[in-house]
């Protein structure tokens, strides 16, 4: 052994050597922390800066400064916040790297009663009081030459949207001007009281989200012209639009304005109609003149029901039901090629209608959300009167797929070449005028658009209501909105696409809300169908029995001096009826039990396989080996 290696050995064996090793362990990990390399192998690249963000960064003109505030030296910060702060910091580093000098990241750890804390406060960052009376700051402010925008608090529960939130803030800070968004709503989207009988409602969550990015302007339904500065017009639940408004909308499209129409076949959130206790409620909406003019067919009284995409709802009276009128689009029912919808997981429409291009349709029709072929329609009137189970039972599936949200693109021509058309009501008060606009187009009338334009049509308006899209929770006493499905994101994506800022679309809605057991879902579906069929059969049987009984009674009544006499024959029939009723009910119970049995059986089989199959195999191999060895050694002895 050479003297050098023995010297090393001596050192190693000594306690100094052990200490040296420990120090090198810590040092190695410390150094590794300085140059983090991450390989992201999730299917959706969840942790890599997306192309949209990179495009926003490469299009920056002018310097952007990100001031990141996090109370790092605070001892008692919740572990969740500590971990998240590390991730936020890492992502911000990636922004700085990707921007190639256009973005400067400054990191602050605001101590109590310092100038830094004062600034954090001035920028509007959230000060969060911890149980030990210390204050935590965890937010950022982004500054450009034009303006400054703060993210007051990085909520760990918005981790999925972290990149979007950062990119969006940078895009907003550097935007030349905000797009102006006009909203013409016939639902109570801005909150308050819809009518004196209704309780106060908060502003719908989507409005708050839109206001973050756009100049939002609520338009009044009595307008005659869409204001010039409006870039994008959203029309929500258009009920009985007067002709001058319809004409104004048409002309808005002609001048290159972007249009989104959310019609509905049954708006459950139409508060004004809800309070009407009797009579027909007009819960549907449409703009027939425009739809017809563009060559679209939309029957406002026909609600789409879909057995395959039914949503599980908990009804007060009838328990848990898979309700076909609430259609949950997922998988290939969502257009994967459109930037608006490509990354959505699940969008749910409540009692929506559908669009079809008519024969004379001459633009491009791009479906965004489409029902499955297990769909049919139910009349608006029926939906208002019948309970969920009855609706589910009566829905007749016709194998047709129905488009419930679509994009129409083309060089549009005016629907009103002769100016505004008068409605029947308006005509009634003015009998002298011919039905078709004899006056000719007014001054400044436009006949066609100059450039290709897009119009979005959606067959539902309820989906944007808070009840069907978000959950309001409170974190550190501050209200926070959490999406319960992709409804809100669908709407925001759509507005973003329509208003032209397409870079952000690539970023939004990354991450997966859920990857359910599709096999189990299919089983459920099949069982439910079987159950419904059988239930219908059994109910029909019951109905027949009842009919027979009533016939018998009538016959008896006619013969027996208008009096119903309980002859032994009738008594026997009644007894038979009861017996049959009992049997039917029992059969129904059995069928319901079977509904869950298949799913439970699958679970049990899989559990058994996982728990026992391989261990048994290992045991057998072990025994076989042991037996062979024993035999061999036995033979030798």
């Amino acid at each position: 052994m050479n003297p050098r290696s023995s010297w090393i050995k001596k050192l190693l064996v000594s306690s100094t050597g052990a200490l040296l090793l420990l120090v090198s362990l810590v040092a190695l990990n410390y150094l590794a922390g300085l140059v983090p390399l991450r390989l992201d192998i999730t299917e959706e690249g969840l942790y890599t800066l997306s192309d949209g963000s990179k495009r926003i960064l490469s299009n920056l003109d002018g310097q952007v400064t990100i001031k990141y505030y996090y109370s790092e030296s605070l001892a008692n910060a919740p572990l969740q916040v500590k971990n998240y702060a590390r991730k936020v910091r890492e992502l911000l580093d990636e922004y700085e790297n990707a921007a190639g000098g256009d973005v400067t990241l400054e990191v602050y750890d605001p101590q109590p009663d310092t100038e830094e804390e004062e600034w954090a406060f001035k920028y509007g960052l959230q000060r969060i009081a911890l149980p030990d009376a210390s204050n935590l700051y965890f937010g950022m402010v982004v500054l450009s030459e034009q303006r400054e925008i703060a993210v007051p608090f990085f909520d760990p529960r918005r981790e999925k949207f972290l990149e979007y939130d950062i990119s969006e803030t940078i895009a907003r800070v550097t935007a030349k001007s905000q797009p102006a968004l006009g909203i013409l709503a016939f639902l109570n989207v801005s909150g308050g009281q819809a009518s004196p009988l209704q309780p106060r409602e908060p502003e719908w969550a989507f409005m708050g989200e839109l206001k973050k990015i756009y100049k939002v302007e609520l338009l009044l339904p009595n307008l005659t012209k869409i204001p010039e500065h409006i870039d994008l017009l959203m029309i929500i639940h258009p009920k009985f639009l007067p002709s001058n408004v319809t004409y104004a909308i048409d002309q808005f499209v002609m001048r290159g304005g972007r249009l989104m129409i959310f019609a509905d076949a049954n708006a459950r959130t139409d508060r004004q109609e809800l309070e009407k206790q009797q009579g027909i409620r007009f819960t549907y909406s449409s703009i027939p003149d425009l739809f017809e003019g563009w060559g679209l067919v939309f029957d406002k009284t026909k609600i789409v029901g879909d057995r395959r995409l039914a949503t599980r709802v908990n009804t007060q009276s009838q328990g848990i039901v898979d309700f076909p009128l609430w259609v949950s689009f997922r998988g290939d029912r969502i257009n994967r090629d459109s930037v608006i919808t490509s990354q959505l997981e699940e969008v749910t429409f409540m009692d929506g209608g559908f669009f079809e291009p008519a024969e004379d349709f001459r633009y491009t029709f791009t479906p965004l959300l489409t029902s499955s072929s297990d769909s049919g329609t139910i009349d608006n009137f029926m939906a208002q009167m019948a309970g969920p189970i009855d609706i589910s039972r009566t829905l007749e599936v016709d194998g047709k797929e129905r488009v419930m949200a679509a994009l129409i693109t083309g060089t549009f021509e005016t629907v009103f070449p002769n100016g505004p058309r008068k409605t029947q009501q308006e005509l009634a008060g003015d009998p002298g005028t011919a039905p078709e606009d004899a006056a000719g187009p007014p001054e400044g009338h436009l006949d066609r658009v100059e450039q290709e334009n897009s119009i979005m049509v959606v067959g539902d308006a309820d989906f944007m209501h808070d009840q069907f899209s978000v959950q309001r929770v409170s974190l550190f006493g501050r209200p926070i909105i959490q999406p319960i499905n992709d409804n809100l994101i669908f709407l925001l994506n759509a507005v973003e696409f329509m208003s032209g800022s397409r870079d952000l679309i690539d970023i939004r809605s990354r991450g997966t809300f859920s990857r359910p057991f599709t096999t189990v879902l299919d089983l459920q579906q099949a069982a439910q169908e079987k159950y419904q069929q059988q239930e219908k059969q059994l109910s029909d049987q019951l109905e027949q029995v009842r009919e027979r009984l009533s016939k018998l009674e009538t016959a008896q009544g006619e013969e027996g001096n208008q009096r119903v006499i309980l002859t032994p024959e009738i008594l026997a029939e009644v007894e038979q009826f009861r017996e049959e009723e009992r049997r039917t009910q029992k059969a129904l119970r059995e069928v319901r039990k079977v509904l869950w049995q298949d799913i439970e059986n699958l679970g049990r089989t899989l559990l058994a396989l996982n728990l026992l199959a391989v261990p048994l195999l290992v045991a057998i191999i072990g025994f076989a080996g042991y037996y062979r060895r024993v035999k061999r050694s036995g033979g030798r002895n």
Partner: protein
Amino acid sequence: MNGLIPIVKRELLSYFRSPVAYIFIIIFLISTAGATWFLGSFYQSNQSSLDPFFFFHPWLYLFLIPAVGMRLWAEDRRSGTIELLLTLPVNLLTAVLGKFLAAWLFVGIALALTFPMAATVYYLGSPDTGLVVTGYLGSFLMAGSYLAIACFTSSMTKNQVISFVLGFFICLILVLLGWGFLQALLVNVFPVWLADAITFFSFSSHFEGFHRGLIDSRDVIYFLSIIGFMLFATVIVLEHRKAS
């Protein structure tokens, strides 16, 4: 490093000559599957993800890995075969590494035999394959770290039970370091930077990245450096013994 592969081969094969190995694998498989289905409510969760499966690995390894590692050197020390081993022409480091790699491979085989879990999620739905791959990779690396610790404790004593208990406690501390409560305690005793540095060495926080589909150089280096450190420490202990 001459003779490394023969040692690994011989040690690995020797595992399968004893019934203990089979019993270990059976216990490993039943406890991972049982924890996933009963404690993790896998089937009820209705999510095609192996999260409830990997979630319990740091805790299950606490019992299982020191049990594999405890006999690595303690057995040799008890029976005296260690003297024979120390006089062999192979380098001590090679011997330590060989025994460790064989044990690690053995644990890897046990881990690979949990494949029905992966097959189940693919049968039931469509999981993110990235998450499945990194989950297994992270679990294997973490198992290596547990095993290196067990290897070290095994080299310190003749008694396998003592080796198991020691290994269990060192691993327990490293798991608990990622736990908020212990972290709060540390902060009260040490300055924040030191407390943070200590909690950095927790198993759970380094395993978490793999859970989410990320292969982070820091996590990989962490696990490998723990393995390296513990194996060196084993060599030192054995060398010390040889010298005395």
